[in-house]
Symmetry: D2
Subunit: 378 residues, 4 copies
């Protein structure tokens, strides 16, 4: 039984979701040749990383990620560190010939992303980026429906990602829990954190974006920094929106915010085509809404598909019986399974680093447009 | 232009809904031969009935309904008086050869209903009972779907009618606003007021009921009577439920209550057949949910049909454009239109008095069963 | 009983909705001093206008709207003619000292609108524009909630109006049924027809818009013209979207389309404030969704308010009992009632011509921005 | 680190869900003293049980469950075998002093259940029954709301469990996949399989049931038996319903069916009290609907609570961040965690065998009532 020895870097929220996935995949995808082994995890605080390793069953730990890369008993590096560390780790891991799975966004900007993509391509190592929402069964089903031609020519693509955890001015920036508000660590705000998911999914479902115009806003201009304990200007975008054209002629409308009261993690998408439409949102991730003009006129309506059928729905033959939901964590199990399969078959995982650079390009164009108040080509 | 001169008896909530319907029908159903004329309205208080006549445009009024029946310039009697007056008025109106539209429930019990049905049949006068919910476009569409065979053999019929206005012990019984709680005036409580709607619709959609067992409850045993100003025992049922068999082999489950917090007038129904299912409720009366097993497996889901299409949906070619809802009041317009059409064509209106006796039989069997704690044949 | 003698110009879809409202208002708002009388209606085809007058009960008709304006027995002119006739009729009616209710959009552009507003102000005649959706009880309730401060500072305003009736290339442009696709008659496409509603409501609920950037699209470039029977270029926008800033600092995102399969008339809006949020859509117009952070943490959720309570909800004390919906047509009854009340009290109706010019300014800026691909001040 | 060595009997659907839970619990509930170890699993087919043990990581396997009970290295027996084996295994395990977690329903009937409860009580071993739906966070939240008094006196309890997988006459009875249709193995049909869940939850949330009347039906009277390959009479109930009184004075309405097209596993419940109401269903298990009369009149509505808040909602501090759903499998993780905690603390797990006997009593009274067509005391 060929083992794939994992070295995880970072042990926060994403460190937990990825670890859980590696632990589950062999039982639920038993046909896969490679079986992940929790070989080592890395984090700066010895006390914390030791506790994490024990809690999750890692065989060892490191307090310096560079040592992890040096080890011969590590086959795959999983990067769950903050955004500003992705590049350095990825370049080093590629040089060591490790396989790499990197949390999203791939990089702080397009230039970094290009460098990283070039590095893994040069090294010839399997690589992937964790845009996990593609692998929600309902979203994968949407992809299948679109690819089957059931929607026909696409006119509209509408998507947003809304949260509400930043409304209070008392939320700090920086530190373990709020590094996403620290521009030096996160790069951008909602653009890279939330809209990047919308963009990745959109590029996958609806093809490339040609040009766009955008708007960003930082509602609360100053927040206390958790590390310096001083009130500092907030450098990230609290909200962003963009209008764009897709190469297929459809119009796009994108928005994300952390100031939308009542929405915890409301990633939504809607696609309108000449023959039908699709709608989905993350708050009821197990449902896909589908409208088709081929239904008899008097009986047409949006169908609410409960995407839980063992026999009919993507990935669901791995889980339970019809009607019983899976949840958020399963997207990571599917991701690991597909990554392992791509390693086994020697095919490219999707999205890989190169694919993720396309998302970076849209993010960069968005930020540039918002600053310049102009349309930008992607 | 042949006029149909209306004499309305009663000017409460139902007096208003019926009057509004008579006023609208000619404009929205211009092809109908008979045009209603608001000839006279009757009520005991001269002050109130005069004001009502003025507000709504009646040409005259009476303070004694018997005088209304005597008049030669009245063609149709519409009975909107409380339940305990239906029988006497209807018998007298039939004797005078008037057409009759009677509010539901038809009568205080089956015996009265039989007498009334016999009277109108003997007199040969057009007659109908105002089970208006049949004529909600979504409910009529349900009827069309069932009759088309799209559901196949029926297994289950589930329906309830839930309100919450009696939870407070301070609601009185009796008087203008609460005669529905006075057993002498209303006959029964939720059984005749609410469940009768469920029963009428069920008999129409799913055929006759053969036997049933039931339960009733009066949660608040005593209430002040608005007329006597004394605390008196409550004689009506606050809640009722029944299980039954339909003649077609399906199982029925019925419930109504005025103690269901959060439900204002939630009349619901669901029908499960071997090929598909239907669901509807009064709180979103313009929608019908439809599930069909003929849809492709992966794409099956409950369709939410927005029953507002001018070209495709029952009655909707009379109203606006797709997407724009009609409401509660329109059920009465449809009812009057269908009644006028039946008069014009010499056909029976549905439900007529005879049909409504069937609903009374179920109500009586329900009340008997609840008392005897036994199954009863209908 | 002071009569207000109506002269209606136009007898299409809007002619019907307005007429119905004038006929109902006195019964449902009996306290109003002025009672509308259907004095005359005007349309070019004698055959058609005569039939319309008969069907709806107008006392007389004209085949030239100028003759209607000449008549002394007309107090109020209601303009339901196509957009390109609004200006001429309104200017002439103002000169004759008639009160004016004008269908939306007020005008073909801002310049016309300014001229019209100046004319009615100079003439000192009561005037109003039929942005009827403000008067849906749920939308009026939203206004009350916002004005009460329950949402606090606003961050986001999101709205769209989606239809799907233009997807087929076989829909013609021009003529009775499709003049909305003829640029010469309609002025613009979805911008003036649909987005204008979104804009009017937004300005009412959230205050003025300072600047915007927009995108428009005409998906099907040529359609047969119903009058010439020739294939001609389509001059109107099939879809539009805009991003904007409101004067209160909030961000706006607007979109409308006639190519969104599955949406018949889906006007939606959502407002996110620091203390709570609101959501509403026209397909379930009797519901308002409300989220408040003041609810206890574990029990917070979007409340679906069934806006049908006689005692608590705007306008609903005119209609039925809790739980029973009103529909689209009632917005026009409320509009006429409020107009009559404003005449009685000598106050300004909202929106009047001057208010509606603000909506035109946004529409013009939108169309300019879409052409120039630039941000525009309003 | 004290280990709790597991011996699992049965490796079907429930064998998988339980195993997954034992594997996850230590990482997600790290504070628990006892850590489960997958010591052994038992099944009759060596080929299959060996494969299962490998796939899931069991250290060993047995082909005779009696041998499993003999082993000293097993601390806890988890019974996932079909219903007709529960009694014998449980009695033997109790005699050996093993802790026992038993799948539901506890037994084939009340008599068996009483015997089993007496046995574990005599042996003094920790014991529990897997009514896992109690531990859905939304259901546990419902329990907290009810216990806090927020609903006040309860009037109605309404619940059903609807599936549709038996509509086809081609579904066999008996064998691995359809033993639930074989009366000799399953005991009853939907009553023990589905309604038992409704009953357990109801007893937990609303207290004991005093008397009931019920109806059962077997729609398809004969099916091929998978083991004998002969068409045989179907001995189980395809559908059942019951009306009942709870000891607290509220009325109950229960139903379950495997013939409700469109419902995969629709377990629903609704509770109406004098101060508010609750609604929940398994198809959107992460949501709880709550209505409270304490909300301001105009703003009252059913709240849809997205039960995913790390800080506020039961069990959710173990999982992800607000807005991200967990699913069906997590109910078993919670169950194991609570069981381990009860072992650690020496408290009774709920529901234990004694609690589950109460559910059996209701099931038995239901089946008796349906046969006798009479009310039965519980």
């Amino acid at each position: 039984m060929p083992e794939l020895r994992l070295g995880l870097i970072g042990y926060g929220f994403m460190g937990r979701t990825h670890t859980n996935a590696y632990k589950k995949v062999a039982s639920f995808f038993p046909e896969l040749k490679y079986k992940p082994v929790l070989q080592a995890v890395s984090g700066r605080s010895e006390e914390k990383i030791k506790a994490f390793a024990e809690q999750w069953g890692y065989a060892s730990y490191e307090t310096d990620w560079r040592k992890l890369l040096e080890r011969d008993d590590i086959d795959i590096i999983d990067i769950c560190a903050p955004n500003n560390m992705h590049r350095e780790i990825a370049l080093a891991a590629a040089e060591k010939g490790k396989m790499i799975l990197c949390e999203k966004p791939l990089s702080m900007n397009t230039a970094e992303g290009e460098e990283m993509a070039a590095a893994v391509e040069k090294a010839g190592v399997p690589n992937g980026v964790s845009y996990n929402y593609r692998r929600i069964p309902a979203v994968t089903l949407a992809k299948q429906i679109i690819d089957s031609g059931k929607l026909g020519k696409i006119f509209h693509y509408r998507t947003n990602f809304l949260q509400d955890w930043c409304i209070s001015p008392n939320v700090p920036q920086g530190g373990d829990s709020a590094w996403r508000l620290d521009a030096k660590v996160a790069g951008s705000g909602v653009t890279g954190d939330l809209l990047a998911h919308c963009i990745d999914t959109a590029l996958w479902l609806n093809g490339s974006i040609t040009d766009l115009t955008a708007m960003t806003e930082t509602f609360i201009k100053e927040r206390k920094h958790a590390l310096t304990d001083k009130v500092e200007p907030v450098g990230v975008d609290d909200a962003c929106s963009m209008m764009c054209h897709f190469a297929n002629g459809s119009l796009g409308l994108f928005e994300s915010s952390r100031y939308a009261a009542g929405h915890k993690a409301l990633f939504t998408l809607e696609i309108n085509g000449e023959k039908g439409s699709l709608r989905w949102d993350l708050h009821d991730l197990h449902r896909l809404e589908y409208y088709t003009k081929t239904d008899e006129g008097a009986l047409r309506g949006w169908r609410s598909i409960h995407v839980t059928d063992h026999d009919d729905h993507p990935y669901m033959n791995r889980w339970w019986v019809p009607g019983l939901q899976i949840g958020y964590e399963h997207t990571f199990v599917h991701q690991v399974a597909d990554f392992l399969e791509s390693v086994e078959k020697g095919t490219a995982f999707s999205p890989n680093f190169r694919d993720a650079v396309e998302t970076q390009k849209v993010c960069d164009a968005l930020l540039k447009s918002a600053k310049a108040r102009s349309w930008e080509s992607v």
